[in-house]
């Protein structure tokens, strides 16, 4: 059984994430999605990988696959500095509250999202937010991009050390940039 990095996030139930280690598989899932959405959390402002802010990786991912961004917490400011205008500034709970309504029109009013990606949240809050979507949003799948195993996600990375994680994100971005699914 996979064990979440932070033990407080111990799963209790049968439905747990599919752990994916292969960046190309992640990329495939993202490209196959009709309306993906990337949620950026405040840890993207604090974590650095290979000398770059985690938020910059987030921006690269969003750009590579043309994914709208929801800047939660106070991430908007830095995002603007990086030249990106988020499609939404709902806080994490608020965006989840909207996502769980099948009828919601999404951040671009084109229809609700079918793949929701998470980057840069505290794991305990992330795990709780994912729980809401796991139970009440069967119309979408969730995907976490941090270096932690998230049992409540649909797709999650395993627990990774920073070097492997950085590598994964770089590969993901590269894969997303490639044409085709």
């Amino acid at each position: 059984m996979s064990i979440p990095y932070h033990y407080v996030n111990v799963p209790t139930g049968f439905k747990t994430a599919r752990i994916i280690e292969d960046a190309s598989e992640y990329a495939h899932l993202i490209k196959r999605a009709r309306r993906p959405l990337l949620l950026l959390g405040p840890l993207t402002l604090r974590i650095s990988l290979n000398g770059r802010l985690l938020m910059e990786y987030g921006v690269d991912i969003a750009k590579a696959a043309n994914i709208p961004v929801c800047a939660t917490a106070h991430t908007k400011k830095k995002l603007l500095e990086l030249g990106v205008t988020p499609e939404s500034t709902y806080d994490i709970i608020e965006i989840i509250n909207h996502l769980k309504d099948k009828e919601w029109r999404g951040v671009k009013k084109e229809g609700n999202h079918d793949l929701v990606m998470f980057l840069g949240f505290r794991t305990d809050l992330g795990q709780q937010g994912l729980s809401t979507l796991k139970h009440f949003a069967p119309h979408l799948r969730t995907m976490t991009l941090c270096k932690y195993y998230y049992p409540n996600a649909a797709y999650s990375l395993p627990n990774l050390k920073d070097d492997k994680w950085g590598e994964f994100l770089e590969n993901l971005i590269a894969n997303l940039k490639e044409k085709g699914v």
Partner: protein, 768 residues
């Protein structure tokens, strides 16, 4: 069987209890409301502020048909579904909170009635005539004596049994109805809080009718380790105050240090300026392990369950003084004090003493006797590398930490002589001990923290109790009109996501912006952990008045009643609305017209859940920190999709305001920065005058720009007419409004929900 008897309906009984014949106000529609009496109000609230569930577990394990997997559409063997089960757990938490506060209140009432009699008069001083706004509103009783407070507690006890019954399998089948019951529990909790704090104030002569209460010493370093030290942990001041009394009676007040952790600390410093406040819950284990306390006296609530063991390990004596936490110890209440002292000193026996005065005497005597034999060496920075030697960087500590801290790295760095990361960890540490507990190399991590824990003394304002009627008279209008931009209350526990002083930062932000800033409980203590460049804490910088730019500590968690009480008093004193048995009208008033916002940044307990839910039923929104997502339930709206129609009480017309004010009743916010912005927004009310709205938006816009970089993305929802736009931002706001296609909103003179749902309350009742 037909017998002519004098029959009394339940309604008659209530009117008798509340002395209906005593016409200080006419009796409103819901005296002493029962479980279903305010259900329609609840359903109206829940219609706008829908329950949002984040299940903490996919299963239910409550009965022997389980475990049941409630994922997705699956129901339990009893037919319950996932949302309803979450509602059930929410109600459980609220019941636990009501009971903790109510039992504490009941104990204090019983204790004081034995001492002073049922007819002992309640007198909260010349500044507080509306002595019990919650009891007046909820029950319809104006309490004059301890006996009247007893009636209020009996009302709570009588309501609790129905709430706990509802938790049983095969009761409620609707999440909304479980939430209604939780809201009812919250309301009862507030009654219990008020009973308890009023009883404590009159019974222990705590300060009241004084705004300028003394500044007391706070911080783990404030204790004079050269003296015998008694540490009180818990919430019930009966024992701590008895210790103070005993010391004074025996002229030992300068000989023995009395300090406290958790609410007991806040209570005892309302009793004696000489008492010291160590800190909130997050400092409990740390301080106990330091061994500084010679005698530890526990009573009830938020006390570590392993205190008996930890005391033994630290060489501290232990007296348990409450039937709530007996630790399997012998009950020596009937023994002679000196006999108990002997056993404790000679063989290190730990005891249970259920009479406060005896516990006090024994505590003092034991402390004096054993202090001289005990060494209180604290770890210094130089000792750290040696203690850390065995660490092999497994990071199991990281994984166990409930605050997700990089403990291992801090330990590793400390081993190399660099203590910076350890300081960071200590400032965010919740004091749970799990890192150390599972460390395979037995690194004494909490002990290490002694080397970095600041031994500084901070100044903390002691609790002042109720807000004064004259303060309300002064600020009532500005609050309701909006020219005082809001009342922000920082309350609750210390399960903070980040540094302990974030609360102080948030409070400062609003104090300098001339909000009224109130604190209580562990948050009040956390607020004192930050000093400015001049070495002042927030309590030293701002006046302690309930006025714009004031920073007050109402007291312990039971003093939270005075915060809701202030909002109620505004309705009564400013708006001249009758309180008596008039819950719906008052809550409706607060929701629509009192710009108040609670912040429980580190809430952890069932008590905090009850307090917050009680605030919600009054119409007071609450912001909580990330850990609170584990409470499983929030009350959220969707500002753009939902219906913000209210009734105009004067024109008797429905008005579609499209204004989400307040937007949520309880919401988890991730970061302090976002919390600050959210709080400002949550203080906006439909009743704001243009001037008031300008002031509030000025802050909202400024803060949003500061932390998020732009004008607020929902600003257009809060501008009714151009007169609402703060001058300073006029140009860019006008441009923005143009861009988003904003239109003026309809006129609204008296916003109310009455008339938008089935209620016994006539629309006239909201007009004052």
């Amino acid at each position: 069987m037909v017998v002519i008897v004098k029959k009394k309906t339940r309604k008659d009984e209530k009117l008798e209890i509340i002395r209906a014949e005593d016409l200080w106000e006419p009796v409103g529609p819901t005296p002493m409301p029962d479980l279903a009496d305010l259900r329609n109000w609840d359903m109206r609230l829940l219609k706008t502020y829908k329950p949002f569930y984040a299940p903490f577990c996919d299963l239910c394990c409550f009965c022997t048909y389980g475990k049941c997997d409630l994922t997705g559409e699956q129901g339990g063997a009893c037919g319950i579904d996932m949302p309803t089960q979450q509602g059930r757990i929410v109600l459980l938490a609220c019941c636990g909170g009501v009971a903790a506060h109510g039992a504490h209140g009941r104990h204090i009432i019983d204790y004081l009635i034995e001492k002073y009699g049922e007819d002992y008069k309640i007198d909260l001083g010349t500044q507080v005539a509306v002595e019990a706004p919650i009891i007046r509103t909820v029950l319809g009783l104006k309490p004059e004596t301890l006996g009247d407070l007893k009636k209020a507690i009996e009302y709570v006890e009588r309501g609790l049994i129905h709430l706990v019954s509802s938790l049983h399998t095969g009761q409620e089948g609707s999440d909304l109805d479980y939430e209604s019951k939780a809201l009812h529990a919250g309301m009862l909790d507030h009654v219990a809080l008020e009973v308890t704090d009023i009883a404590q104030i009159v019974g222990f002569s705590f300060p009241t009718s004084i705004a300028d209460t003394p500044l007391v010493d706070f911080g783990w370093g404030v204790v004079d380790k050269t003296k015998p030290v008694i540490l009180c942990i818990g919430h019930n001041p009966a024992t701590a105050t008895s210790i103070i009394d005993y010391l004074n009676q025996n002229n030992l007040q300068d000989e023995v240090e009395v300090c406290g952790i958790c609410c007991t600390a806040l209570e005892v410093t309302r009793y004696s300026k000489a008492a010291k406040v160590i800190g909130p819950l997050s400092r409990q284990l740390f301080f106990v392990r330091s061994g500084v306390a010679d005698v530890i006296v526990t009573e009830e609530q938020c006390i570590r369950a392993d205190t008996s063991l930890e005391a033994k390990k630290a060489g501290s004596a232990l007296i348990a003084a409450s039937d709530k936490a007996c630790y399997g110890l012998d009950n020596v209440t009937e023994k002679e004090a000196d006999e108990i002292v002997k056993e404790m000193v000679e063989v290190g026996k730990q005891v249970l003493i259920l009479v406060p005065e005896k516990a006090a005497e024994v505590a003092v005597k034991v402390a004096i006797k054993i202090a001289r034999q005990r060494e209180k060496e604290l770890i210094e920075a130089s000792q750290v590398p040696e203690l850390v030697q065995e660490c092999h960087n497994c990071r199991i500590c990281d994984r166990n930490c409930p605050n997700l801290l990089p403990v291992g790295e801090a330990v590793e760095q400390a081993g190399k002589g660099n203590l910076e990361k350890l300081i960071e960890v200590f400032n965010k540490c919740l004091g749970c001990g799990k890192c150390e507990q599972d460390c395979p190399r037995n690194i004494p991590i909490l002990k290490l923290m002694q080397a970095v824990a600041s031994g500084e003394t901070f100044k903390l304002r002691s609790g002042r109790g109720p807000i004064h009627d004259v303060e309300i008279r002064k600020v009532g209008a500005p609050i309701v009109l909006g020219t005082i931009p809001g009342v922000v209350a920082f309350v609750g526990c210390s399960n903070f996501p980040e540094e302990i002083d974030e609360v102080a930062e948030m409070m400062e932000e609003f104090a300098r912006r001339k909000y009224i800033v109130v604190a209580s409980g562990c948050a009040a203590m956390a607020a004192a952990t930050k000093k400015d460049a001049e070495g002042k804490t927030i309590y030293e910088k701002y006046p302690p008045d309930f006025d714009a730019g004031g920073v007050l500590n109402v007291g312990s968690c039971v003093a939270n009643s005075h915060i809701a009480g202030a909002a109620i008093k505004i309705a009564n004193i400013f708006a001249a609305l009758p309180l008596r048995a008039n819950y719906e009208v008052i809550a409706d008033y607060i929701l629509n017209r009192v710009g108040a916002c609670g912040v429980a940044w580190g809430a952890y307990s069932w008590k905090a859940a009850a307090i917050a839910t009680g605030c919600n039923r009054w119409g007071i929104p609450v912001v909580v920190g990330p850990h609170s997502s584990k409470y499983r339930r929030l009350y959220l709206s969707r500002k753009e999709e939902d219906d913000w129609t209210v009734m105009d009480g004067r024109t008797r017309q429905l008005v579609d305001t499209q204004e989400p004010s307040p937007e949520h009743l309880i919401n988890v916010v991730e970061s302090k920065e976002r919390a600050i912005v959210t709080i400002a927004k949550l203080c906006i009310r439909k009743n704001d005058t243009p001037q008031g709205r300008q002031i509030k938006l000025n802050h909202y816009i400024a803060l949003h720009k500061q932390y998020l970089g732009t004008l607020p993305d929902d600003l257009h929802l809060f501008i009714r007419r151009t007169t609402d736009i703060p001058i300073f931002f006029k140009k860019e706001v006008m441009e923005y409004l143009q861009k988003v296609g904003w239109k003026e909103k309809p006129v609204l003179t008296l916003p109310t929900l009455i008339g938008t749902y089935p209620s016994k309350v006539p629309l006239e009742a909201v007009i004052h």
